[in-house]
């Protein structure tokens, strides 16, 4: 995956260089052709021709960029040669010697594998955190319009406090004050429900499922059931649109999914079984079940708290942008407060809110790199560990930047796609 991204980067660089130089040469030819076809009285002297000045400026800029770049590259090569640093990407295949708790990564795995494992952890933080931040932020944003004085003031206080302290401070505070020192240690973990719920400052664990015979087939059937359920929900929506009979699409969809799942489970003879967290002789969780490392929980919670304030401000602004007549009309129809927000105000507000929300999602994904401060093993942290193992820093920083660039590009592409669906189709 990393090699593929590096290849893409190289191709993009070459493509940009070809485009820029080609465009410049084309412009030069176009200018001379244009000048050749004009009468003498109709054209400026060469050094006063706007196009000529532009071309000279661009050639000068290009030469300056290339010159400075060559100078820096020369220095860079001198320095890397002096300290014996190799510039290839072969190191990606060497063993990394890094393990991540609760991750299949083993010490013998390659550097590339370790980085990708970290990258997937980053994606996990984002996929859990962004929806939570969106929900919390929207609720707080709405709460600032509440008719209840306490709710309104608390929401304002929350936003004004957390918005104005650095995310890193929120993260280290949540981690050290709440998670690390506030929760019981692994030996004295909090187990209100026995093995069903275990919480300590090291791990959070609940039972999950474990594959048995036929698990592979079962997984594929579940996937097919999911697609079928989506199709059923879509069909119910169509029926509702055409005939007006109540759609109940959620019920239909869930029914399809669980019905097929249950039948498949019975036919395949129990392809999954319960997997309870296993404890070692000192009472610590060490395997099985669904486990979350506390640093991951802390970074997610802290970033949700921080990002939700920004989202709340955006939601508040966009609700204020909804025409007041809409709200009054909803009141005149005797809609409840929930109905008014769900069916009238929020759909219109979200249309305004979405573009700035995308940039908040991007900020969330970039801020997830601050996990480096509390030791959650995501991309930045893994790469920082690799520096310590005397892996080459320049290549690693390039890869780090490349991974976050990819993430930003994907997120903003998805965001823009959704945004296009949300906007009113104009003529």
């Amino acid at each position: 995956m990393i090699n593929f991204l590096l290849l893409l980067l190289g191709l993009a660089a070459i493509g940009t260089a070809i485009y820029v130089v080609g465009r410049l040469i084309f412009d030069i030819f176009a200018m001379f052709r244009d000048r050749a076809t004009r009468d003498d009285g109709d054209k400026a002297v060469l050094w006063r021709d706007v196009k000529a000045i532009g071309i000279v400026a661009q050639v000068a800029a290009l030469l300056a960029i290339v010159g400075v770049g060559a100078f820096l590259w020369g220095n860079f090569r001198d320095r890397t040669d002096a300290i014996g640093l190799k510039l290839g990407f072969d190191f990606l295949d060497q063993p990394a010697g890094i393990t991540i708790a609760d991750n299949p990564l083993i010490a013998g795995d390659s550097v590339g594998t370790a980085i990708v494992a970290g990258f997937f952890n980053t994606i996990r933080i984002i996929m859990v955190g962004i929806p939570l931040a969106l929900i919390l932020g929207t609720l707080i944003g709405i709460a600032r319009f509440s008719s209840n004085w306490i709710v309104r003031k608390l929401a304002t206080g929350y936003v004004e406090f957390f918005r104005n302290i650095p995310p890193l401070v929120v993260i280290v505070f949540v981690w050290s004050a709440v998670f690390l020192n506030g929760f019981p240690t692994a030996q004295n973990a909090w187990k209100p429900l026995g093995e069903w719920f275990i919480l300590s400052n090291n791990r959070f664990a609940i039972p999950s499922i474990m594959g048995q015979d036929n698990f592979g087939v079962f997984r594929w059937i579940l996937l097919a059931a999911l697609l079928l359920a989506a199709g059923v929900a879509y069909w119910r929506t169509k029926v509702f649109d055409n005939t007006g009979t109540p759609h109940h699409r959620v019920m239909w969809g869930l029914g399809t999914f669980f019905g097929i799942g249950l039948i498949a489970y019975l036919i395949l003879g129990g392809p999954v079984s319960m997997s309870k967290p296993m404890l070692d002789d000192r009472g610590r969780v060490f395997s099985n079940g669904f486990r979350i490392q506390m640093p991951f929980a802390a970074i997610t919670v802290a970033l949700v708290i921080y990002t939700a304030t920004h989202i709340a401000e955006i939601v508040r602004g966009s609700i204020m942008a909804v025409h007041k007549g809409q709200e009054e009309a909803a009141n005149a129809l005797a809609l409840s407060t929930f109905q008014r927000y769900r069916f009238v105000v929020l759909p219109q507000a979200m249309r305004v809110a979405f573009p700035p929300l995308i940039s908040q999602f991007l900020n969330f994904s970039k801020n997830s790199s601050l996990a480096i401060a509390i030791g959650a093993a995501e991309t930045t942290n893994i790469i920082n560990n690799l520096f310590g193992q005397s892996q080459p820093a320049p290549q690693l920083i390039l890869i780090l930047a490349l991974l976050y660039l990819t993430l930003s590009l994907i997120l903003s592409a998805v965001g823009n796609l959704i945004n296009r669906r949300l906007q009113i189709v104009g003529r």
Binding site: N75, T80, I150, I165, L168, V169, V172, L370, Y404
Partner: protein, 481 residues
């Protein structure tokens, strides 16, 4: 004359419409107020009770925690939190620096307030002089937090110093207000020069300080000389002006270098001071680059446009921490091989300048788009050159429109300076970690106390600035014109 008549007519209509437009004052009794705001119906009452109890519990436990907390760690480390590892016998430097800074800020803001006051009078608007009560309401978080900080001091000196600072603010602002008009017009330069001088008081004689002083004096002299009419006009005139300004600027820089006084370079700075300093420097240096990048992105010359777009999108697409790691691990590798490695903060400032330039570029681009196209076209029609159109017509309007967003960027960068702690620079947040590693405090679980202290410090500055940004937005009427 015609304009004035129209104005009077307009005023008449407006005053006729304005009669009794204020609603009758609705002063509720406490009981009615509670009924309206807390217990308007059953659901609201339940919510009020639950949320109110939760809030009360939060306040109760918070207060209990604060009363029981051990603040000795803050008392022992207050100096490090504020200015880093500054030797005790040199403490007069930061104080003197702060006073010079207050002097500059007081004179500048006082003079600027008076300038806009006079402008209002000349435009026959109703001039307002802000009262001190209003000023306190604007800046209460910073005032409160500075008192809060000083309350951890173990000697009497900081109290006296802070009181003197408050007095100095009042005196210099009034002084700035009363300065003659000719001086008031130059208040910006005086303020900036005093800012640099205040940094030099800490840093001592330094070549960098000399350059900064020289640059500001040069720009100032150029603007002064452009009003001297005996100098020739055109290109030759510009050269003559530049030569004179250069001589004066060089003289100032040389004099600065001749006054021998030792100080502490920024490799020895730390604490809140470094956070604020890095923010100011990052925004100030980032501004010109940001404006150039924004113009580059809007230009139709493909080389400039592509270069600007790549730089802006790259910097905005990666987290700041990866750029700071770059500054720490890679930037020194680009220097010629016989150069010594610069201080960590120098490397970080280089990267932060580029970082803020990319964000400022996007802000300025928004401002450029907000300037109506007719402005450019009218300027071109009156025969201005492309550079003049940008310099005198487009940029002034665009930059005015983005002032609130720029303050927002300032806040964001101020918060982002906390990341310097990760690359080992002793800024505000990192002092919390180092003090918890001290022998007397290690393993006592005092991190939450120090983090809370740090959070309050960041909050006071950021919140004040965000209030200012909202005030500016309302004052400039951005989006309502």
């Amino acid at each position: 004359m015609v304009d004035k008549a129209a104005n009077y007519l307009g005023d008449d209509i407006m005053s006729a419409l304005a009669v009794d437009s204020t609603p009758p004052s609705a002063k509720l009794s406490p009981g009615d107020w509670m009924k309206k705001n807390l217990f308007s119906n059953a659901a609201n009452s339940i919510v009020s009770l639950i949320v109110g109890l939760a809030a009360a519990a939060l306040v109760w436990f918070g207060l209990k925690w604060i009363i029981n907390a051990d603040f000795a760690i803050i008392r022992a480390n207050l100096r490090i939190f504020l200015i880093g590892q500054f030797p005790k016998e040199e403490l007069w430097r930061p104080w003197a620096s702060a006073y010079v800074l207050i002097l500059g800020a007081g004179l500048m803001t006082g003079a600027m307030a008076r300038n806009s006051y006079e402008l209002d009078i000349s435009q026959e608007l109703e001039p307002v002089k802000e009262s001190w009560g209003q000023m306190v309401r604007r800046f209460w978080p910073v005032l409160l937090v500075s008192i809060f900080f000083v309350s951890f001091a173990r000697t009497i000196m900081p109290y006296i110093g802070l009181a003197a600072a408050f007095v100095l603010i009042v005196v210099t602002r009034e002084l700035g207000w009363r300065m003659p008009a000719a001086v008031r017009q130059r208040a910006l330069y005086i303020g900036v020069l005093l800012f640099i001088v205040s940094m030099l008081v800490i840093a001592g004689t330094s070549r960098l300080g000399g350059y900064a002083l020289g640059l500001v004096v040069f720009i100032w002299m150029m603007s002064e000389l452009s009003q001297v009419e005996t100098l020739p006009v055109g290109f030759v005139g510009t050269l003559v002006r530049a030569a004179i300004a250069l001589v004066i600027a060089a003289a100032v820089a040389v004099i600065q270098n001749l006054i021998p006084h030792d100080g502490f370079g920024w490799e020895n700075w730390g604490g809140l001071h470094i956070s604020l300093f890095t923010t100011v420097v990052g925004i100030t240096l980032g501004m010109p680059f940001g404006i150039l990048l924004a113009l580059g992105r809007k230009s139709n010359l493909p080389v400039l446009k592509t270069a600007s777009v790549i730089f802006i999108e790259f910097v905005r697409g990666v987290p700041l921490i990866s750029l700071l790691l770059f500054s720490n691990l890679m930037l020194p590798l680009f220097l010629p091989i016989d150069f010594e490695r610069p201080a960590d903060l120098t490397l970080a400032i280089v990267v932060i300048t580029g970082f803020s330039a990319a964000y400022i570029a996007e802000i300025v681009r928004g401002g450029l788009q907000a300037v109506p196209k007719g402005q450019t076209e009218a300027a071109q029609a009156s025969g201005m050159s492309a550079a003049s159109v940008q310099r005198f017509i487009v940029l002034p309007q665009a930059l005015r429109a983005v002032i609130p967003a720029m303050v927002g960027q300032f806040i964001a960068l101020f918060k982002d300076t906390s990341l310097l702690s990760i690359i080992g620079i002793l800024e505000f947040l990192r002092v919390s970690d180092t003090s918890n590693a001290q022998q007397e405090f290690v393993g006592k679980g005092l991190a939450s106390v120090t983090y809370l202290f740090v959070a309050i410090g960041y909050w006071a500055f950021a919140y004040t600035m965000s209030k200012e940004s909202r005030r500016l937005e309302a004052k400039l009427g951005v989006g309502h014109r």
